[in-house]
Amino acid sequence: MSRFGQLFRRRRLDSELAQEIAAHIEEKADELAEAGMSREKALLAARARFGNSTAVLEQSREVWSFAAVESLLRDLRISARGLRRTPLFTAVAVATLALGIGADAAIFSLMDAVLLRPLPFPQADRIVVLWERPPKTVKTASLGSRNQQNPASPANFLDWRDRTRSFDRMAAISVFPMGLSGFGEPREVDALQVSASFFRILGVRPLLGRAFDMSEDVPHGPRVVVLGFGLWQRQFGGDRTVIGRTVRLHDEPYTILGVMPERFDLPFAHADLLVPIQIARGMDSDEGRYLNVIAKLKPGVSMARAQADLSAVARQISVERPYVSRDWDAGVVSLYEQTTGEISTALLLLFGAVTFVLLIAAVNVANLLLMRGTGRQREIALRAALGASRSRIAIQLLAESLLLSIAGAALGVALAFAGLRAIVVSLPALALPRIEGLQVDARVLAFSVVLCLGSTFLFGLVPALAFSRTDPDEALKQGGLRGASRGHRRMRGLLVVAEVAVSLVLLVGAGLLGRSFLNQTGVSRGFRTDQILTMRMFFAPARYYDDHRRARYLDQILARVRALPGVAAASSAHFLPMVGVVSGSGFHRMDQPEPARARGRAPITSL
């Protein structure tokens, strides 16, 4: 007999079994009556000998596998009815769970987008970021200084590129604003100057047209530009005929070569457009450090080997150009590490925190269920007396918990979805890397299902075990007395203790975080920032190539700004203080001989 067939013949099986059991008891009674018992007594004795016939029927049914599924469905139906009868309890429990599960799912999707998903570049595990490492005595103000990450100078980049053996390709990247004109409204855009190998390292192809190649990435090479998707849409209306046309950047004509695909962004830099960096040895100011460097490891080369290779070259450089590179080292960091490094700790911390919140929610619901169960002890006792086994009762109570967490999870995922929109909108661009990949998708839903089942067991198991132990005799004897038994009170006490403990951990963690935040923001800058406004502008090199001309123009601007009503004072600076970038220049003591000059230019002394 196939089990599938059995499923359809279930009712027949049930009635057959019932008939069979009835016949068994009758025959037993017949036998006892023949031995001289009264018919009534014989029937009672036969039933006693047989045992609990309901339980027997149920156990027989459970032998066939469908019984388990079926009884679960029945339990769910019964539970749904029960929950509908107590709407307030249901609403509170579902809302509590929704908050817990929703927060956890939201943070999980953040982690998923930022940490778990692979970087959107082919062979991304071979892409690395290279930094200069200043000696401990040098205080740098660059953004990555905490991790000993300093941008590289063009001279050092060229030596790395030409002398190392571990990398297939190496590209320099420099981020700087450019004035875009000659096409619609003039505006300042974020330009990335990059080496031609940039495209090969990242494995990205333009959506339209082509990228620039090695022959164009040479000093005094052609002025060409590849537009970013966003800028192409905003400024050029997505016009496909822009390829080959000319725009003006810093007041010089550039030919549009191509358009990058949508969503192309470096994890650490946003670009409106890309132009060739065109660096070469011997160019002016090639020892200032402002380049980001990416490279692709040769197949099979380990990070350690690449690091040793690069460090060796850095040592040579520090000997060759001590006036600018003494004791400087260089470091290799994987692109993944670079992208997620600092943020991953924060996200994991956040994830831990919301998981604690979910725990608290689960304990709360467990408590609610315990209180509700106390009121239902008679019902449970009755079921036990009628032959329900302990596991049957526990499963039925768990079914109720399952329904609650399914409802909670559904609502929670909806909350997470809405919450994530809010997070993305409120975050400044690039505050979180890869945030654009954020979405509530199948992975997040799968995680929510796991959360849902996990929390069911977490908050459902305690009451289920507590009440399935109900002794029918005692509970029924207690009659209308609805006080919680000592055991249940004890269990609720334990839950409250657990809850307070978890809350305390959360509070202490939050307090510490808040404290370090205050420490950071409370640092005195040494000047007042209120009532001070700043703005930024760039001089097109073509028009303001000469320092005097630039200074004259700046003086004119400042004079006109000072003349504005409400302006008390106005000034200008190369870089604003505390923005993470500084410029340096060399000096030497007049009473000592000038240090050896490098290629005839003013020497720079490292401090």
Partner: protein, 113 residues
């Protein structure tokens, strides 16, 4: 269900005895229970109800077959008979049961050896 009586049999013991009983010929549930009680000379007081889940398990494994019939007392009952697979299973269980018994005896009478 009475836990004490359950505990007195090891899992699968009842099924083994049912198969052994049916080896002598087809019987209905009540007769199987009677036979086990009588041949054990009342040493095995099984709760008769537990017989039925055991019979369902045997049916599920196709070790017994079943059809409707009439009992000696003229009641409509389901009559069970052992299948070929059931006989093989019985042989397997008896031999492993024998080994187990021998082992237990050796442990329980260490002083005699």
């Amino acid at each position: 269900m009475n836990d004490d009586e359950q505990r007195s049999l090891f899992p699968g013991a009842l099924e083994m005895m049912v198969l052994q009983t049916l080896r002598l010929g087809p019987l209905h549930g009540y007769a199987i229970a009677q036979h086990i009680r009588q041949t054990s000379e009342d040493l095995l007081q099984i709760e008769e109800g537990t017989l039925y889940p055991a019979l369902q398990r045997l049916l599920r494994e196709d070790w017994v077959g079943v059809e409707w019939g009439i009992s000696p007392r003229n009641r409509k009952v389901r009559i069970y008979r052992i299948t070929a697979a059931g006989r093989k299973q019985l042989q397997r269980e008896v031999s492993s049961f024998d080994r187990m018994l021998t082992g237990i005896r050796r442990v329980m009478r260490p002083a005699e050896s």
